[in-house]
Symmetry: C2
């Protein structure tokens, strides 16, 4: 049994829904479908979810909302027309939206979640109707009926453990089930949405719950790239990567997918495949628990800028037991989380994201470090970037560090920081942001272009 | 004004004392002399301090001590004979030793410090007498008279701040002053010794107190080597290094001198020169506060084995604010100090000296990590070595990491850990102990033999 999830571009219009219908027809194992809200049809288009948010906020603020309402309903109507679906489907969708509008009028802010979720809900109704029309026995299943129980918490719902057992019951159903993504219900039956991009979370929860053999996540790319395509032309695709590699790649801002959305599937050891709705025969990128045989040591290069370094020095620091711990305690007290903290005999650095240290917090943290730790120097260096090379094959491969460091040298980029020694599947480098593009290109040449076979 | 300190081999017999007399004659600025106790004359010989400890412990335990007493007095008598010094010097030394023996008989354990210090005291009496005989105006100065005031604490005396001002008064004296190393007096006039090797501490305190232009530390080597001569044949000497470099080199067990003994001199910014009594015209190794122009980027390679790695992994560790801090807190609670703690997204390592974690402590620490941090994995990897390359020239030199990592690759040694990013003057590498000799030799070839000029 496979769970398939389709993103917004895959349900953006009738043509796309025909594609996903073909995909479901092509494999009898694809028995549970999770859908996002209709996305953009062209680059200037607006996603239905954004329209719904605009609608909700306009109503909440007492504004005139006819135009945006008509726009939304037009999106659904055009798909119905394109797919020649019965008008009853439109009726069901519009009744749900009208009811949600009524909630917002009555409850204000608290009613917004239900309205925001109408995009996914409508898409699920459309897809299930079209699947039926195409000859499959399909059924729309509401998350409440499916068993997705969540805890309401600011910024996003959190799935409750009991959901997984309840979802497992879906295996009894004989139809192809279509579940709207992005929301669940509290035990008190209140609709709550996940954080943005939450359809991926729903797909992952459902895959874990039904104990799927595979969770297919359909997007609009053939596979995940081994390096940021903004930095390298036509980068190689990743055919497979392990959960560990995925976690490491996400560390320095690998943004193709939201790794935390995959947590439920990873915990249940469900393999995940990232595929393309527009090219379903492409193999995609498999995310698996165990490494298969692979040609390369390095699977991907992740990079991100926007980091800073707090540098602290104090003569005889190494004789002060607990110095490092007390420095980290100050950051923890101030709610600042850090990425890495290399220490020397008389100095220590802490690398963190710049947004963790806005100016008002910076002055508090600096003052506390000076006063409480009586340091000789404390400096903040902004404009740092982190670059990470990731691959299970790096483990115990003599010469990895040499090849990587030589790539930086060839790019004439100074390495400010190296973090190796904790994870066996990655090495992290800190450079000045200005050096990031050249360094990434040079690393890509070293690990993806110059050598086609393993070295040791 | 220079303060000169002579180690045990420089006062081991009359011939050596003649050499140091020549050294003092050769430079009118050498006005304050600090001496150790007579050391070994040949490899099977016993140091006078060890004989004094044996004497004291025998007396404390009520044993027969004639033989060791005669041995000690024989050492002093033979020097007096060799240098043809007046017999009164012997009289003074033996009276002091007899008085100290009386203390041990009366006070037991508490009297031992005074007896242990008789070696340095006797050496100072001998040297001052011979300097006078050689035509210099010299005077023995007791540490109490000199102004070395200390706090008595287990394991070694700690100098009190007031000493420095009192020592400054010595500048008024016109004679060459000879001060015994290794001990000071509490404000209550109790004699207390420094930790073993404490003559270096005395020399450094005196140099700081008199605000010497130079502190010369005479040993039996021409200079400090750039790498452990047990690992590399005929290694290059270091002609100069900075305090920062010295601190970093001491991190991984660079044992030529005890860097903490130099702290008072370093704090007072007194330049230090390590020289050879047996070859005083050799330039020695200068330890300075500011880098002078130098041919090489790397000044030294330090290495030591006997480290271990505590490896901890936990899925989603990076979302747990304070995880790293709590791990370090457990170690701190158990009195375990660490060297470096690299962290990844889901794992963290802590590198420490093996002796920090004896078996009974290991089980407590492991249990606390498992129970309190609820980790997925915690492993201890023993048999690790640390290798450190040090040099002020490394700062912002593109390609340093590449050259170093390539040296490991050429030695076919896998790098388990890299620590770069805190100190600007060093890079630290962790390897398995078995790989240490090959890695050090390869690094030496790279940084000291292959290139004679700076690269960038």
């Amino acid at each position: 049994m496979k769970v398939v999830k389709f993103g917004g571009s895959s349900v953006a219009n009738g043509e796309q829904i025909k594609k996903i219908t073909n995909i479901i027809h092509a494999d009898i194992e694809r028995r549970v479908v999770v859908v996002s809200a209709p996305g953009k049809r062209y680059s200037e288009d607006v996603k239905v979810t954004d329209l719904l948010i605009q609608l909700g906020e306009t109503i909440r603020d007492g504004g005139k909302y006819d135009e945006v309402y008509d726009w939304i309903m037009g999106r659904f109507q055009s798909i119905i027309d394109e797919l020649e679906l019965p008008q009853e489907v439109y009726q069901t969708i519009s009744e749900k939206i009208d009811a949600s509008i009524q909630h917002v009028i009555e409850e204000g802010e608290r009613g917004l979640d239900a309205l925001k979720a109408c995009g996914e809900d409508g898409a699920a109704l459309l897809v299930s109707a079209y699947l039926n029309q195409s000859g499959l026995d399909a059924a729309y299943v509401n998350p409440s009926e499916a068993g997705i129980v969540v805890r309401d918490q600011p910024g996003g719902a959190l799935v409750l453990e009991e959901s997984f057992e309840r979802l497992y019951q879906l295996r009894e159903r004989s139809e192809v089930l279509v579940i709207p993504g992005f929301f669940g219900f509290t035990p008190e039956e209140k609709l709550v949405t996940f954080s943005r991009g939450g359809s991926d979370i729903t797909g992952s929860i459902v895959a874990a719950g039904v104990k799927a053999d595979l969770y297919e996540n359909f997007t609009d790319v053939d596979s995940v790239f081994s390096v940021n395509p903004m930095l390298v032309d036509n980068p190689q695709p990743m055919t497979s990567l392990t959960y560990r590699e995925m976690r490491e790649l996400s560390y320095a801002g690998f943004t193709v997918f939201h790794d935390e959305a995959l947590i439920p599937a990873v915990k249940a050891k469900i393999p995940v495949c990232i595929k393309n709705t527009n090219n379903p025969s492409a193999p995609g990128t498999m995310i698996v628990s165990e490494l298969e045989d692979r040609e390369r040591d390095v699977v991907g290069i992740a990079s991100d800028s926007g980091f800073l370094n707090i540098y602290v020095s104090k003569f005889l620091m190494n004789r002060e037991i607990g110095f490092g711990r007390r420095l980290l305690q100050i950051l923890e007290d101030e709610g600042v989380s850090f990425e890495h903290a290399p220490s020397g005999i008389d100095d220590m650095s802490v690398i963190l994201r710049e947004h963790q240290l806005p100016p008002e917090k910076e002055s508090i943290v600096l003052k506390r470090i000076k006063d409480e730790l009586e340091v000789d120097t404390v400096l903040i260096e902004r404009g740092m970037a982190l670059i990470m090379i990731v691959g299970e094959g790096m483990n115990h491969n003599i010469g990895m560090a040499s090849r990587a460091a030589t790539a930086f040298r060839e790019a004439q980029v100074n390495i400010e920081m190296i973090n190796q020694g904790s994870s066996e599947v990655s090495m992290m480098f800190g450079v000045k942001s200005s050096g990031l593009p050249a360094a990434v290109r040079s690393l890509y040449r070293t690990f993806f272009q110059e050598e086609k076979v393993k070295q040791s």
